[in-house]
């Protein structure tokens, strides 16, 4: 699908990546996976490569895949860390199903990733690491670089370890430090192979290692050595060029989902002109949001690394009571711990945003892997009738908009809102078209200051009660977790009052549906199949559907941001198709919600491997169904 190639004549020289006497193959898109030990710096290499790709104007999507151990024993299968990127001259929605190129820094990395590589794809292996010890650790009886294992691939066996050592032998830096430079050698090699210039990368290195100039120099030398090797060696028959993508004009940056969420929360605070308070406890894969916001103290942002998950949300509730935007961020197990406090926030009717960057569960589960299995927890997982609006982001950049949307709902309806992201988009990057802050809609926040006729639980047309900042004279009042009187908020055990309060809390959250814009359906208005998706499955579904349409299939796609309440128009849309397919990284949680709400069957497509759907998996399922 993404590997149509054509050979073009050597183009005009435009970069140091220009090859002498060597053809440049122009390709539409390419998927590259960098794999090595978790100490080999593969995340850095991948990240830097993605920046180079971004600067060239490509659309791209990345997928970092790393173990939950910080630095597992070297050379082991479980210590392999990877970073995959797809970049293209067209639109990119996923990091790609099958790598066209695998850069393997040791035998374990090759062993754990080989089965994913495209048949006939390119393998660049650091032969220096394929020694007896490492081969044994990876469970190889003989050296796969030499025994014919890789005959179906284009193998480039390069002693990156040795060449890096050679290049740095005169620098005087320690042997251990030299060992750490080989990822830059590999990066240099790949930059040359994909016709990217070195200068910006050298700037990045010098900025990154500003405090250790000798290390910066060593890395620059390694980078150049890798580049020079690729340029001069006879080994590579051709180098490759991907044309810039046809994407809307504007200023872009590469952004991960967690970073985009942090920017969105900062924006929500500015747009509301209300300070932001984040109470949080570090947990993979959500920690980045806490880290990003902690660096923004020059905004009206306070971050509080609490003693535990419960204190994270409780401090945010206290802050919200004080009249600021309360936020807490977490992942699955932390979400479980916050459950009781979520109920309190529902009773208090204060604005609060809870971000769950979902990971594999249950319990500690798969901390660094993607899953969408906390949806029912978000919608239902509390004691009592405890409704909370739930929204989910579809891509890294979409986290920015969802962060703002979550607070918009929270302040308008005086309610906690759960924002679901996941490990797949939280750490993955894609280009983000930088918005002009002046064009972002303001968040309308009004604090009540008029004590005349004030009742703490009196409601407006949206059924929201007033937000009153402590410190406002004449409006002293008490709130709490006990059931409260419909108007005064005082404790009430009256049976009819309780029923009325349960109903009004439910009606308030159901009313959020009025704010949901009409759904966008990609594809035919009616037909054989509608795919209903939510969250990070977006990219895979889009590409799978497009391929199916090219194959003549009548298939449409609608992707949900709002999961509680569901959009009002979804039922009618579903009714126009013969079948509904719901791909989810769980056992069918949205499917359950849809069946319950619309009393029609849907086809569950489930995957529970800690991995995103491959485009081909969804595509194949579509072809089976229509």
């Amino acid at each position: 699908m993404n590997t149509e190639t054509m050979t073009v004549d050597a183009p005009k020289a435009s970069s140091p990546g220009m090859q002498k006497n060597r053809p440049i193959e122009e390709i539409k898109s390419v998927v590259i996976r960098f794999v090595g030990d978790s100490g080999d710096g593969m995340q850095l290499t991948g990240n830097e490569f993605s920046k180079a790709v971004a600067r060239a104007g490509h659309d791209f999507a990345t997928h970092p895949d790393y173990p939950s151990e910080i630095r597992a024993p070297t050379g082991t299968l479980f210590g392999v860390s990877g970073y995959q990127i797809q970049f293209s001259s067209g639109q990119v929605f996923t990091s790609g199903d099958t790598p066209d190129v695998l850069v393997a820094m040791n035998p374990a990395a090759l062993k754990t990733n080989l089965s994913d590589v495209k048949h006939g794809g390119m393998i660049i292996a650091n032969s220096g690491a394929f020694n007896k010890v490492n081969l044994e650790k990876a469970g190889y009886q003989s050296n796969p670089l030499e025994d014919g294992t890789l005959t179906d691939f284009r193998l480039y066996s390069i002693d990156i370890s040795e060449f890096t050592t050679q290049a740095l032998k005169d620098t005087g830096i320690a042997k251990k430090e030299i060992g750490r430079c080989k990822n830059y050698y590999a990066l240099g090699l790949m930059l040359c192979l994909y016709s990217r210039p070195l200068e910006s990368e050298e700037e990045n290195i010098r900025a990154k290692f500003a405090k250790k100039p000798e290390i910066a120099e060593a890395n620059v030398i390694a980078l150049r050595a890798g580049y020079a090797y690729a340029e001069s060696t006879e080994m590579f028959v051709s180098t490759y060029q991907v044309r810039a993508a046809d994407i809307p004009p504007g200023r872009y940056r590469s952004i991960t989902g967690n970073h985009a969420a942090a920017l969105g929360f900062a924006a929500a605070s500015e747009l509301a002109n209300v300070p932001l308070f984040l109470g949080s406890y570090p947990i993979t894969p959500a920690t980045d949001i806490l880290q990003e916001l902690s660096a923004l103290k020059h905004f009206n942002i306070t971050t509080f690394q609490a003693e535990d998950e419960i204190a994270g949300i409780c401090s945010a509730i206290g802050a919200a009571y004080g009249g600021v935007l309360g936020l807490t961020t977490t992942s699955g197990p932390g979400m479980a711990l916050k459950t009781e406090a979520l109920g309190l926030a529902v009773m208090l009717e204060l604005p609060l945003v809870i971000t769950n960057v979902q990971r594999g569960g249950p319990s500690t589960g798969l901390p660094t892997k993607v899953e969408q299995s906390d949806l029912l927890q978000a919608v239902y997982g509390r004691n009592g009738e405890c409704p909370i609006p739930v929204i989910a982001a579809r891509s890294p950049a979409d986290c920015f908009e969802c962060a703002i949307e979550a607070f918009r709902i929270a302040v308008k309806y005086m309610t906690p809102v759960i924002f679901l992201s996941d490990g797949g988009i939280g750490n993955a990057a894609e280009p983000w078209r930088i918005p002009d802050p002046a064009t972002l809609p303001r968040l309308d926040v009004k604090f009540r200051t008029d004590p005349e006729g004030f009742q703490p639980y009196a409601r407006d047309a949206n059924l929201a009660r007033a937000w009153v900042r402590p410190g406002t004279p004449g409006m002293e009042h008490r709130v709490g977790g006990l059931e409260k009187n419909y108007l005064t908020g005082n404790i009430s055990h009256d049976p009819i009052n309780h029923e009325r309060m349960v109903a009004v809390r439910a009606a308030k959250v159901a009313g959020v549906a009025e704010d949901i814009p009409p759904l966008t359906v990609e594809g035919p208005d009616s037909g054989d199949l509608l795919i209903v998706g939510w969250g990070s499955t977006y990219g895979s579904i889009v590409q799978a559907r497009e391929a199916a349409v090219l194959a003549g299939k009548s298939v449409a796609h609608v992707h949900l941001r709002h999961l509680n309440p569901l959009p009002d128009d979804l039922g009618e849309i579903m009714s126009r198709y013969k079948a509904v397919l719901v791909p989810e990284l769980n056992l069918g949680q949205l499917s359950k919600l849809l069946r319950e709400r619309y009393l029609r069957d849907v086809i569950v497509m489930s995957k529970m491997q800690g991995k995103m759907f491959k485009v081909s998996e969804i595509h194949d399922r579509i072809l089976e169904l229509c």
């Binding site: 300070p275 905004f299 509080f304 009249g323 309360g326 002009d436 004279p473 409006m475 002293e476 006990l482």
Partner: protein
Amino acid sequence: MNQMTEIKPLTRKDFESDQDVRWCPGCGDYALLAQVQKLLPTLGIPRENFAFISGIGCSSRFPYYMETYGMHSIHGRAPAIASGLKLARPDLSVWVVSGDGDSLAIGGNHFIHAMRRNIGLKMILLNNRIYGLTKGQYSPTSEFGKKTKTTPLGSIDRPFSPVSVALGAGATFVARTVDSDHPHLLETLKRAAEHPGTAFVEVLQNCVVFNDGAYNALSDRESRADARILLEHGKPMRFGKDGNKGIRMRGFEPEVVTVGENGVTEADLMVHDETAANGGLAFFLSQFAAPLPVPLGVFRAVDSPVYETLNQQLAADARAHKGQGALDKLFNSGDTWTID
């Protein structure tokens, strides 16, 4: 609204809410409520700037009876909620009212971290050494061997001393008082209110229904002089009906001595120092057990940077260094590129 700012002095009546107080008749919590309502009008803080946060338990009904801002939250979490509130709103006077189960069992983690951070919270722990609201189970402060509904054969749990826990967690102000001695209670609360960081006050409180008489020795006017020692900064540690008993150190062990007997003079007695940089003395006092008297008063009151002040300073420094945050600059930071 009335903009005439002729400030009428507040009275305790101003702090009484319209809610019926629902504690058992004779409960020690009434004493705290009365003394707090007496204290607050004297602090020079507008009524609307007080917020009372509580957890769950008999004592945690406290905010409902105060005509201030308040929140009756969930079990054990009041310190965390109050921390968020105080950080978001350093201008408020934030009080936490809690019990022995709320603070030291389910909320133990929040309790110790509030103590260590030194956020400007006034934290009152009503210690009745029993679970009242659930009708009589033992608590983390119940005595070893105590028979309750869940320890019919006697408790095998060793109890916490709340003052020791607070000191061990690094609290900068720690005091103990008793519900029955209203002037001492009021004075102790006043000292807590004046402390800029976290101020912790343990109130020994009688539960008339499930643990009646737990502090009889301290409330009985005849016996209390011998059962308690009132800590006074810079003063020798004397107590007793006639004021002639005292605490003397023998090695690392305290002993009760009588001034004027066996050659003991006042110069032999320990002298209380609540400001000692080393918390050892305060902790030592917090471990007093019979036959030593129960220390009441301020164990420790030391100056230490206050969390919310440091937090505001960090923000001010960041603004001085980077300028007030602007979204446009933030969005466009890092590696950007332009597509024409």
